[in-house]
């Protein structure tokens, strides 16, 4: 009994940090409507900063002062970020905001390693809380008891701040109606900046307070952000009480989940999240999301199938690509195969994002599931390559069918957070379930059969499947189903009013997209001869998002170009610099701010500008005609 009670207290102590970070995220979202992906990065910075300060200054004042000053310094960095970056993208679609703040996260990862080095750092114990309390023979660290007491205090302080101060009233008003608050003459800029500073302060404080419990390392950011996303999905974005309740819930589930499913404890959290989403899609304390914003300034060019000339050009490009083995070496062919595989992956996400309007932040899950599917079939069942290639992606299909069912119940940022959380769950299973997946060591020795083993033949195979996948997806875009999907994206109200079951249409699209991603993953397993949990990881999901964005979200097949350019640049970049994340992150931020239409989107705009003189006059003429 005592053991369970101690386990319960450990859960409560873990909830403290989680609550601080999640409440910060919620406060920022409530006012600015930005889901700050970089929140995990600020948490990590808080931990590193606190580590340095508490090492430098000794004594109780040095420690506790160091914790608070660290959080303040990080909050100041947050202010800088808000003023320089976020102010430029407040009116952009959520996807761009998530991506820009993710770019920041990438940059911080490299910066942190540059400053503090790649090794784990062990922080000092907290003065006054070094010992443990004995509870019926079980030890409870006294610092845990301090953390347990802290979170209700923080909750109370936040409550007073929002209920009893003028600033708090303005924040609550802005949470309900930003435009009205602006119309009343409140300086919105500084309101937003101060809210962001508070949110970042809470995140950094959460990180700083963890140093006596946990080693500081440069992967903390992603670990916490996924947990925080789960917390806010369960608790409801924008609700501080929700963040508190859900943080406790998730921490306790983790604490006891380890006892029930020692290998895959995260399953329990997933099950609870699934139940909450079915019963209350906006979280326990959340409110339904307002309608998604449309991309401002992006022109609405109705999509059309390729003209016969364009078809000929695409075919020409394909033939040209197929001639690569005539003059390129083995390394170039391997790179070519990899690019072809990424084209498949990016095209599958593009279908879901552009046509379906559903920005998945965890698309690598289905890519990786396809790869693992092949590895299981080829290694465990010993099936020939053709059979594995055909059946392997079915694991991606299955994953997409299960997760997609829940994900399409939501939209916008909730959808993005949920898909990310699902992908992380799949990753955790692959990572922790060593007996089946090999864990971190992966599954080795997945080699292609003889007919596809040579670099040239494998390249041709990849190219053919990529061309087929892109073509099939294009056909679907212009099929009746594609129109039903676009209708659901454009106006849920109208599509329901003409008999379209939007959720089922979106679910079907999710399954199609996940299956195609799985096909890419299946080829990837054969290309590398092995499968690792990385193939399911967040960074791969984000690579896909960047490829889609680079090609152009509002195009039909921009992802193809995006994948080719991104992957080629990425392979080159990694060979040139150790700071590839810093460069990539900076590139993402720059792209979102300066270049939101992507390569193909920009080209289309330029082409339309060339054409525009006569189309515009025709338009005007007909207007006048009807006005007569």
């Amino acid at each position: 009994m005592a053991f369970y009670f101690v386990q319960f207290l450990t859960g409560l102590a873990s909830a403290a940090s989680l609550f601080l970070v999640a409440s910060g995220l919620s406060i920022i979202f409530g006012v600015t409507r930005i889901v700050n992906f970089a929140h995990g990065a600020f948490y990590m910075l808080g931990a590193y900063m606190a580590f340095t300060l508490t090492e430098r200054f000794s004594g109780a004042l040095g420690f506790w002062g160091g914790i608070v000053v660290a959080a303040l310094i990080v909050a100041a960095i947050g202010v800088l970020v808000e003023m320089v970056l976020l102010r430029r993208i407040y009116h952009a679609p959520e996807l761009f905001q998530l991506l820009a703040t993710f770019g920041l996260t990438l940059m911080v990862q490299d910066i942190v390693v540059l400053i503090w080095g790649p090794d784990d750092l062990l922080g000092r114990r907290a003065p006054g809380f070094r010992g443990a309390v004995d509870f019926f023979g079980q030890n409870i660290p006294s610092y845990d008891l301090f953390l347990i007491a802290l979170s209700p205090v923080v909750l109370g302080v936040l409550w007073l701040l929002f209920q009893r101060t003028r600033w708090g009233v303005l924040v609550r008003a802005a949470t309900q109606d930003r435009d009205m608050v602006a119309a009343l003459g409140v300086n919105q800029k500084w309101l937003f900046t101060s809210v962001f500073a508070l949110g970042v302060f809470l995140a950094a404080l959460g990180g700083a307070l963890q140093i006596p419990r946990d080693a500081v390392h440069h992967a903390l950011d992603l670990r916490i952000i996924v947990e925080v996303f789960v917390v806010v999905v369960i608790g409801g974005l924008g609700s501080i009480i929700g963040a508190f309740v859900a943080a406790v819930l998730v921490s306790e589930l983790n604490a006891f989940g380890i006892l029930i499913f020692p290998k895959i404890s995260i399953i329990l959290v997933f099950l609870v999240m699934a139940v909450v989403l079915i019963v209350r899609p906006w979280g326990l304390f959340g409110k339904p999301e307002a309608a998604a914003r449309r991309t401002p300034g992006l022109t609405v060019n109705p999509w059309r199938p390729l003209t016969s000339g364009e078809r000929l050009m695409s075919l020409g490009a394909l033939v040209l690509a197929a001639m690569l083995p005539l003059f390129a070496g083995n390394y170039a062919l391997t790179v070519g195969s990899e690019i072809a595989i990424y084209v498949i992956f990016a095209a599958s996400l593009h279908f879901l994002m552009s046509v379906g309007g559903l920005a998945s932040f965890g698309h690598a899950a289905y890519f990786g599931l396809g790869a693992y599917g092949v590895a299981f079939l080829a290694k465990a069942a010993g099936l020939p390559m053709i059979v594995s290639l055909l059946l392997g992606p079915l694991l991606g299909l299955l994953g997409a069918a299960v997760f997609g069912f829940f994900a399409v119940q939501l939209s916008g940022v909730y959808f993005a957070m949920l898909t990310l959380a699902f992908a992380q769950i799949v990753w955790s299973i692959a990572f922790q379930w060593v007996a089946v997946t090999g864990g971190d060591n992966g599954i080795l020795g997945v080699w292609p059969d003889k007919w596809a083993a040579g670099p040239a033949s494998f390249y041709w195979l990849s190219l053919a499947i990529a061309a087929l996948a892109v073509t099939v997806l294009r056909v679907i875009v212009f099929s009746p189903f594609g129109f039903a999907l676009r209708a659901t994206r454009d106006s849920p109200l109208r599509s329901e009013a003409i008999g379209i079951n939007g959720k089922r249409v979106q679910w079907t699209a999710f399954v199609i997209s996940g299956t195609v991603a799985g096909i890419g993953g299946a080829l990837f397993a054969y290309l590398k001869g092995s499968v690792f949990p990385d193939s399911l990881g967040i960074s791969l999901s984000v690579d896909a998002l960047v490829m889609v964005l680079l090609g152009g979200v509002e195009t039909v097949s921009g992802a193809v170009i995006g994948a080719i350019v991104f992957k080629a640049a990425n392979i080159w970049l990694v060979s040139q610099t150790d700071l590839s994340k810093l460069v990539l992150g900076g590139f993402i931020v720059l792209m979102v701010v300066a270049f939101p239409k992507g390569i193909v989107g920009t080209l289309e705009t330029i082409r339309n500008r060339w054409r525009s003189p006569d189309t515009k006059s025709a338009l005007l003429a007909s207007r006048i005609e009807t006005a007569e």
């Binding site: 212009f478 009746p480 594609g482 109208r494 329901e496 003409i498 379209i500 079951n501 009807t626």
Partner: protein, 263 residues
């Protein structure tokens, strides 16, 4: 006309939010080819009533019988399948598609081809879409991106979409809101003509009394959730209670109403 079959029959429909009775025990009938206006001041319960009819809101009690079927608790898309077309107060169309494609999507749904992954939508029911667009006077705009249309044209496009499932009943929520006066008259004339020709029943809510009195066969007047008058335009025009509401004598009515409630 009185011999036309009943399309819609509403019996003792009620809905309250907390202590507020948004709609109390409203009953009425609508016949094929009849144009029925639902009017009343802001907050009278028109929108709540409308949302319950089209499945966006579930009544606390009462019955809605549409074409012989009980529709309480059914989703909007299921009600559409029964043969109900809808237009919205603020137009809801598909801005990234062309005008023709907007209608084609509705036809795809009507033809139950929504999960057809392989066909070409461009060729799907192209003639039928063109016919519907011609009917509302939008034929010349078929290839135009919907996002570029003027508001009055969007309203006409919405009407074409609403007609795609060959409806027996049109539900139009403030069909002329946000339009210029001349456009209003034109749109309602067009609607009335189509309704008469195809024997479609029309139920619409409206704030513009000129539109209501010119086009409605019958008028229902809601106030504070209750039906206070029902009849031909002449009857409703002469009704003292209705006059009281619309001529700004609300206070008088209010006082009497409260006395009645207290007694």
């Amino acid at each position: 006309m009185s011999m036309a079959p009943t399309l819609l029959s509403v019996e003792a429909l009620s809905k309250s939010y907390g202590g507020v009775h948004a709609v109390r025990s409203v009953s009425f009938e609508l016949r094929a080819g009849e144009i029925l206006a639902l009017i009343g001041p802001n907050g009278a319960g028109k929108s709540t009533c409308f949302d319950m009819l089209n499945g966006q809101n579930i009544p606390d009690s009462g019955r809605i019988t549409l074409l012989g079927e009980d529709t309480v608790g059914r989703k909007p898309r299921a009600i559409w399948r029964l043969g109900v077309g809808r237009t919205f107060q603020i137009t809801a169309t598909f801005p990234t598609m062309t005008v023709r494609e907007n209608v084609q999507v509705a036809l795809v749904s009507y033809g139950r081809q929504l999960f057809n992954l392989w066909g070409s939508t461009a060729q799907f029911a192209r003639d039928e879409a063109g016919r519907l667009l011609d009917l509302v006077g939008m034929g010349a705009y078929a290839g135009r991106p919907c996002g570029e249309l003027a508001y009055g044209d969007l309203k006409r496009l919405e009407l074409a979409i609403a007609l795609a499932n060959q409806p027996k009943l049109l539900l139009m929520d403030e069909p002329t809101a946000g339009m210029a006066p001349r456009e209003r008259i034109e749109l309602m004339r067009l609607t009335a003509r189509i309704a008469r020709e195809q024997s479609i029943g029309v139920l619409f809510t409206e704030h513009d009394m000129d539109v209501v009195f010119e086009h409605a066969d019958r008028i229902l007047v809601l106030n504070r959730g209750s039906l206070i008058a029902e009849g031909s335009p002449e009857e409703v025009r002469g009704n003292p209670q209705v006059r009281a509401i619309y001529l700004g004598e609300g206070l008088v009515y209010d006082a009497r109403h409260r006395e009645g409630a207290g007694a």
